[in-house]
């Protein structure tokens, strides 16, 4: 492991050995539906005796973990550590999933950046030998998020064109040490909090964009790479507004991103699915990672990509108190399976 500025480079890259994604109805109608391992028409899970949306989200997470472990061919007892987080206050979706799984667990909160955060930490811990088999996972549920952050589901309100739709989805990845089969993690970059005084809670993409630029510039600076060295540079959940701003700013920095794609614009068909500026929520980038990015790296369709998830780090309280919205972006460099 070598540290160059904010980037940790792995000379013996840990791998993502298995992964799984679970999603709800809107996700099943989106362009990535075929990549999901589990989809449901009713994400309330009444038949599984879920009494509320919080339990439903936890159930969705459990589905993703269950399938991920099955694909990895191991039982939950063989997992050394799980890193998980979600949007619910005190990360309860993850806590209750872990109550059922009884795996050593460390909870994370990085809002929509949680999937990349868990991969950054998970890859570092696996490369350092702290864990041999580590779960990195996250989720979000539209209904649980709406009732916590916005208004009751049945409240009649109009969404602004810049608003984003919280994905009902969960993604789980199993990391293993170097030399094993899987998608190698070449480097990780932990982001720094950036706040450019955006106050509009209905424009999260704009609030998070500076964090994305900051992490990308630090990563390119530390590694001497350029955008053209990658097949695709994925950002998590900037949506259409944040993505346009990212392109504009990166061009100003002299590093245009013609190969940029945003998870918030990939999970849904933005033009027809009534998601305003695109998807969001920790489950959004996790689902795109597990349904599209990792399978493409496994099949050799991509040889090298950046996966950078962005998070907006305000709370309902700080927002009402008039604070601006700080953002963060963590970046994971992934290589095609068998290329390292």
């Amino acid at each position: 492991m070598i540290r160059r500025k904010d980037t940790v480079l792995f000379d013996k890259p840990p791998v993502i050995a298995a992964w799984a994604a679970a999603g709800g109805k809107k996700e099943s109608e989106g362009p990535l539906a075929a990549g999901f391992d589990f989809l449901t028409e009713d994400a309330a899970f009444p038949e599984e005796a879920c009494a509320n949306w919080e339990q439903a989200e936890s159930f969705l997470q459990q589905k993703a973990v269950e399938i991920c472990l099955r694909k990895a061919g191991i039982s939950r007892k063989e997992v050394d550590l799980a890193l998980a987080g979600d949007l619910q206050a005190q990360c309860t979706a993850s806590n209750y999933t872990m109550r059922a799984l009884e795996i050593p667990f460390a909870g994370l909160y990085g809002a929509c950046s949680t999937m990349a955060e868990s991969l950054c930490l998970g890859a570092s811990l696996t490369a350092g030998g702290v864990a041999h088999q580590l779960l990195a996972m996250t989720s979000s549920h539209f209904c649980a998020a709406e009732r916590q952050f916005r208004t009751p589901l049945d409240y009649g309100a109009k969404r602004t064109p810049t608003a984003q739709w919280t994905a009902t989805a969960a993604g789980a990845c199993l990391l293993r040490g170097a030399g094993q089969k899987g998608v190698p993690v070449l480097s990780v970059t932990f982001g720094r909090v950036q706040d450019y005084e955006v106050h509009d809670i209905n424009n999260m993409g704009a609030a998070m964009m500076p964090a994305a630029v900051s992490t990308l510039l630090r990563y390119f600076g530390a590694t001497g790479t350029a955008p053209s060295d990658f097949d695709v540079i994925f950002t998590g959940d900037l949506g259409e507004v944040g993505s346009a701003l990212l392109q504009e700013q990166m061009a100003r920095e002299g590093l245009p991103l013609p190969n940029h794609r945003d998870c918030g614009c990939l999970l849904y068909d933005v033009a027809s699915q009534n998601v305003q500026a695109g998807g969001s929520g920790p489950g959004c980038s996790a689902a795109v990672l597990c349904t599209h990015i990792l399978p493409a790296l496994q099949k050799g369709q991509y040889r090298r990509v950046l996966f950078m998830a962005t998070g907006a780090l305000m709370s309902q309280t700080t927002f009402l108190q008039g604070e601006s919205i700080p953002g963060i972006a963590h970046c994971v460099e992934l290589a095609g399976e068998g290329t390292v």
Partner: protein
């Protein structure tokens, strides 16, 4: 990064699409007008049996009942997603803002959920509406005293 918050505010406002004002206004006008038309229909119906004052009160009650039913069925929210102010401004919007948290927070219990959160959205309207009417009452009383 070649960026400062002031510049960024300009960039953001340029990049953020505005709400489609004409379309939104047309939706609000026709749906809001439609709700008022339903109200007028109810009022004419009640006028068969009651005087104008009581028929008016019964119309308000009828619209509130309809809104509560539509909210419970999940239809009001779907209509409001398009109609905006057309469903927010009439009395039905106020009913929706009381019924929707009552449904939503049932999971947290009848007292700590429904009871505590039922006026979460409507509360400010009730609080400041009461304060404004008390103030108006005082002025009205003073006006009577003076003159």
């Amino acid at each position: 990064m070649k960026l400062n918050p002031k510049e960024y505010a300009h960039m953001v406002s340029r990049a953020s699409p505005p709400s489609p004002a004409v379309r939104d206004c047309l939706w609000a006008f026709f749906v809001g007008g439609g709700i008022c038309l339903v109200g007028e229909g109810l009022r004419q119906f009640f006028l068969y049996w009651y005087d104008a004052s009581l028929a008016g009160t019964l119309t308000s009650i009828g619209l509130i009942l309809l809104s509560a039913i539509f909210t419970t069925l999940g239809w009001y929210q779907k209509l409001a997603a398009k109609a905006g102010a057309g469903t927010l401004v009439p009395i039905t919007g106020f009913a929706n803002s009381v019924v929707s948290p009552a449904i939503e927070f049932k999971a947290e219990g009848w007292v700590t959920g429904v009871g505590a959160k039922i006026f979460g959205i409507a509360g400010p309207v009730i609080a400041y509406g009461t304060a404004a009417s008390a103030l108006w009452g005082l002025l009205y009383w003073l006006q009577g005293k003076v003159g």
